[in-house]
């Protein structure tokens, strides 16, 4: 079958279960396409040889009761994978091979999936364009020299370019939803505490959350069902009753109340985005839902709050990369000199910028004015959502204030880069689930996404709304395979 890589996850699972395809057929197809797609630069590390072995092994004794039977899958290189190099997109971990597996990936392999390789990302997930990776920028399959978004840029490009049927990313301020929006794919950031953080290289611990990235909502629901488990190894993991997201998926959203927050109509937002949003409002109405104008008054403080909280946590989380125990070490005259050289050479500019911001906002004399105040504002932002959810079941917004931009366009303007996350960041600060689905194209033909924000642990509801809209929109991603010669 030549069109294996065009199939959705759900189709592939069905075909393997019905024995129309073997795991080896599928694995081979994705490996072949991956090998022809080096120009996209999505892989940091490939594990193709052992993937083929695993596929053969699976086919010898296929367990077809699993949720991801023999499905090959590449994952973001922020997830620690046993015996497979894990870099977090950084020089400082360039030689790091974990002896352990993250809980999220463990869950995936337990359901029968097979690791294809590790996907490129912004260094330590700090970036919105995948340009901060030590391993070079990633091309967006939509168009040459277009960023795929970030930080899960490699993941987004790999799904959009059909190099993996599905993948996982991590989302600290929009790192799943923004690249999904830039590549015409579906990305879910689950509620904080839904997926274990154990074994994921930490960026900002109170915001980080793993989530699925897929070609469609149903695939996304299936993977969420697999990765979301309570884990006693993560103290912030929450033990709640998890749905069978794919089985319970329905497009019946009749009577649901959807909030439209006026504060998301930001200055300078392109008319195309506003039009897309209006289209989205019409779609949910067409599906029988009711839209209600709401206010999230502290929205404009979300970005500054995020850029205090996230760097503060990062400055401390990244202290362990000091050249002493593992990873890159530069030679130094003494301990301090070794630290300075290791960290100056091992970390890229954006990571260093954030470590400095974080160190500054936590230092004595500034802590109260920055970190403590930011925590207070964070509480207000969460309260905004709590208030809104007294009136509505979910909230609909654009995913990003623009479509994908050109590589290099914003690298010298960090603030304009940070503004990319303006619609996604509040969701992380409030710990809520949010999903981005492709909803249309701009005048350049680049995809645009809509975001649905849910109540805490109400992933099923936003998946259902996304599923209903998806059916109405009937979005087709324009992939020309321009990179395949």
């Amino acid at each position: 079958m030549s069109d294996i890589t065009k199939q959705s996850l759900t189709e592939l699972v069905d075909n393997i279960k019905n024995k129309k395809l073997s795991s080896l057929d599928v694995t081979k197809a994705f490996i072949e396409r991956s090998e022809k797609s080096k120009e996209l630069n999505v892989y940091i590390t490939n594990d193709f040889t052992s993937a083929l072995d695993k596929a053969k092994k699976f086919d010898q004794k296929p367990n077809l009761n699993l949720k991801l039977p023999g499905i090959p899958m590449a994952v973001k290189d922020l997830f620690c994978t046993k015996d497979v190099k894990t870099t977090a997109g950084s020089k400082i971990l360039n030689n790091f091979v974990p002896t352990y597996e993250s809980t999220v990936t463990e869950n995936i392999w337990n359901e029968g999936a097979i690791l294809l390789g590790k996907l490129n990302c912004d260094e330590f997930a700090m970036g919105s364009s995948n340009e901060t990776s030590f391993f070079g920028n990633v091309q967006n399959p939509i168009d040459k020299d277009l960023v795929p978004g970030g930080s899960s840029g490699g993941s987004a490009s790999a799904v959009a370019g059909q190099l993996t049927p599905i993948t996982i990313g991590t989302d600290t301020g929009g790192s799943i939803r923004q690249p999904a929006s830039f590549t015409g794919t579906v990305g879910l950031k689950p509620t904080y505490g839904s997926c274990s953080r154990y074994g994921i290289v930490a960026f900002a611990s109170s915001l980080d959350q793993a989530g699925p990235m897929a070609q469609n909502v149903k695939d996304c629901a299936l993977l969420q069902e697999v990765i979301s488990t309570y884990d006693s190894k993560d103290s912030t993991s929450v033990d709640f009753k998890r749905n069978q997201y794919s089985k319970e998926l329905t497009n019946n959203i009749n009577g649901k109340k959807i909030g439209i927050p006026k504060e998301y109509r930001v200055d300078g937002m392109p008319k195309e985005i506003e039009d897309l949003w209006q289209k989205g409002i019409q779609y949910v109405k067409d599906c029988g839902a009711e839209t209600i104008d709401i206010s999230l008054p502290h929205t404009s403080y979300a970005l500054p709050t995020y850029y205090i909280v996230a760097p503060a946590e990062a400055s401390s989380n990244l202290a362990r990369y000091d050249g002493v125990k593992y990873g890159f070490r530069a030679k130094g005259e003494n301990l301090i000199d070794m630290y300075e050289k290791t960290r100056s050479e091992g970390f890229g500019a954006e990571v260093q910028r954030r470590i400095m911001i974080g160190t500054y906002v936590l230092s004595s004399g500034y802590y109260d004015a920055y970190y403590l105040k930011a925590q207070k504002v964070r509480k207000l932002i969460k309260n905004d959502f709590d208030e809104a959810y007294k009136k509505v079941d979910a909230i609909l917004t654009p995913s990003t204030p623009s479509s994908a931009f050109k590589i290099g366009e914003k690298t010298n303007d960090p603030v304009s880069m940070y503004l990319n996350d303006i619609f996604t960041v509040p969701v992380n600060l409030a710990g809520l689930p949010g999903i981005s689905i492709p909803a249309g194209h701009d005048s350049k033909g680049y995809p645009l996404g809509l975001q649905i924000i849910g109540k805490a642990f109400d992933e099923q509801n936003i998946l259902n709304i996304a599923y209903a809209i998806e059916e109405k929109i009937d979005f087709k991603n324009k992939i020309t395979d321009w990179w395949i010669k």
Binding site: C80, T86, A88, L93, F96, P98, T99, Y100, S102, R197, Y198, G199, I200, V201, A202, A204, S205, S206, S232, K233, D234, S235, T236, A312, E313, S315, S316, L318, A319, R320, D322, V324, K325, Y326, L335, Y339, T359, L362, S363, S364, Y367, Y371
Partner: protein
């Protein structure tokens, strides 16, 4: 009215016309007695091969997360109860950020603003009465690893076995006023924690160490002076020496009209002096903030009450009971309760002796003969060569007149070898006391007969000679004659 200090042991530093009082506060680091570490399942055994008790969490591998050890939380709460302190139902773990080779995370997880235990107090028994020392707080934190600088001329080696081990930092109020009070305070803390089983108090192994804050002020002044913190002192003797040196150093500065810099100092045990480590300006900025990997620690009233119900009798209560029940002096009781193993030994002796009323003799034997043997052999009471059971039998043999106190000492010497039953020793060696009046009378008659001149001298008023006759009688009986009977009969015969 003249203000005269009744406190004869008041510790003051005198210079010309001025007297200075020393103000001391302690931050004691006590290792929690626990099989595993504060946030990981690694073992905590002392003296293990380097880097054999290290988990991925302890070595701070990417993506590793701390998970609180409930047992350590219970130990901290129990200690808080033992310190008569407020237990905080909600406490928060913070990160204390600094770089060092033996600190793998680049931060220490500690409790900064919201500790698990709040204010409490301990009572010290000082020679001139009791003194209350306030406890400011107790919090849980991780220990760091160990840097070893002397194995290689170029490199430093790091042993992470200790990395992540649970510590309780117990902060006192600045209520201590002398090296002796510091000694009593440390001993009392150690005693309470050993009773509770929350810290073994082993200072040689570093299970108990302290940062000592010292300041001085003119006697009678209410204001505190500028303090210096002496870091990481690991014996009571060194604490006392460090305080003595530091207080005098500060007084000298004041007398010279100089000011004292707030700073962190090190105690050099070889030179017996403190030296500046870093000044206030160079103080680390630890950038404390709540650890986002851990939720606030919340404990319920039921959880605390369950622990309260399991608290054993602590030294202060035991002392009171010993005084009431056994009519011991406060001094004797204090000695017996200060160490849990001594108290246990004593109570075993009591149980074996069967009679609870007059334990004075038993106490004398424990604090006298036994302690001196333990001292000489450098043993703990838990390693005593004489078991509580056999000591109880020995004391009973004295009390029921089977042997004299003098013979008992001989028997005790023999017991040291293999913890032999004193009854058997008495039998085998024929040491039983002679208490037959007729036999003693016969013996005395013979002695008087053999020493007629002396007997006459005695009767003429040379009373000192009485002792001579007692000695002769004892000697004749091989030391076994009941001394009381000898006295009585001799007196009668020599009248």
């Amino acid at each position: 009215m003249d203000q005269v200090s009744k406190n004869s042991s008041e510790y003051l530093i005198n210079r010309k016309d001025n007297q200075y009082e020393v103000v001391i506060g302690l931050e004691v680091h006590a290792q929690v007695l626990s099989e595993s570490k504060l946030f990981s399942a690694s073992a905590t055994k002392f003296g293990a091969e380097p880097n054999t008790q290290v988990s991925l969490v302890d070595a701070a591998f990417p993506g590793m997360l701390p998970v609180i050890n409930e047992f350590c939380v219970k130990q901290a709460i129990k200690t808080g109860i033992g310190l008569n302190a407020k237990i905080n139902k909600r406490s928060v773990f913070d990160r204390k950020n600094y770089f060092y080779a033996d600190l793998p995370q680049g931060y220490q997880i500690s409790q900064f603003k919201d500790p698990i235990v709040g204010e409490g107090k301990v009572i010290l028994d000082m020679p001139n009465g009791q003194k209350e020392i306030g406890i400011e707080r107790l919090h849980l934190e991780q220990d760091a690893g160990k840097s070893i600088h002397d194995l290689d001329p170029q490199n430093t080696f790091v042993d992470l076995n200790r990395s992540g081990v649970a510590l309780m930092e117990i902060v006192s109020k600045p209520d201590l006023r002398s090296p002796d009070e510091v000694s009593a305070y440390i001993k009392k803390l150690r005693s309470i924690m050993r009773y509770l089983g929350t810290c073994d108090g082993n200072m040689q192994e570093g299970s108990l160490r302290a940062d000592v804050n010292v300041s001085v002020r003119a006697k009678g002044s209410k204001e505190f002076g500028t303090r210096c913190e002496i870091k990481n002192v690991n014996s009571i003797k060194f604490m006392q020496m460090a305080i003595e040196f530091e207080a005098n150093r500060q007084v000298d500065l004041i007398e010279e009209g100089k000011s004292i810099d707030q700073e962190t100092r090190l105690f050099d045990t070889k030179r017996n002096e403190t030296r500046s480590m870093r000044s206030k300006e160079d103080a680390h900025d630890y950038r404390y903030f709540p650890d986002p990997d851990l939720l606030p620690l919340e404990v319920s009233d039921e959880f605390i009450n369950e622990l309260k119900n399991k608290i054993p009798e602590l030294p202060d209560d035991k002392k009171k009971r010993f005084i009431d029940e056994f009519k011991l002096s406060p001094y004797e009781a204090t000695i017996l309760v200060s160490d849990i193993d001594t108290a246990k030994y004593f109570e075993e002796v009591v149980a074996k002796m069967g009679k609870k009323k007059d334990m004075k003799l038993a106490v004398n034997w424990i604090t006298g003969e036994l302690f001196s043997v333990l001292n000489n052999k450098n043993l703990e009471i838990s390693q005593s060569p004489v078991s509580a059971k056999n000591l109880a039998i020995l004391v009973n043999l004295i009390k029921n007149g089977t042997i004299s106190g003098k013979i008992a000492k001989t028997v005790f010497e023999l017991m040291l070898n293999g913890d032999k039953d004193p009854q058997i020793i008495v039998e085998e060696k024929g040491l039983k006391q002679q208490s037959d009046p007729k036999a003693i009378e016969a013996l005395i008659d013979k002695i008087i007969n053999d020493n007629r001149e002396k007997a006459i001298e005695y009767k003429q008023g040379k009373e000192k000679l009485f002792g001579f006759f007692v000695g002769q009688a004892m000697k004749a009986s091989g030391g076994k004659a009941n001394p009381q009977l000898i006295n009585e009969i001799l007196k009668k015969k020599l009248q």
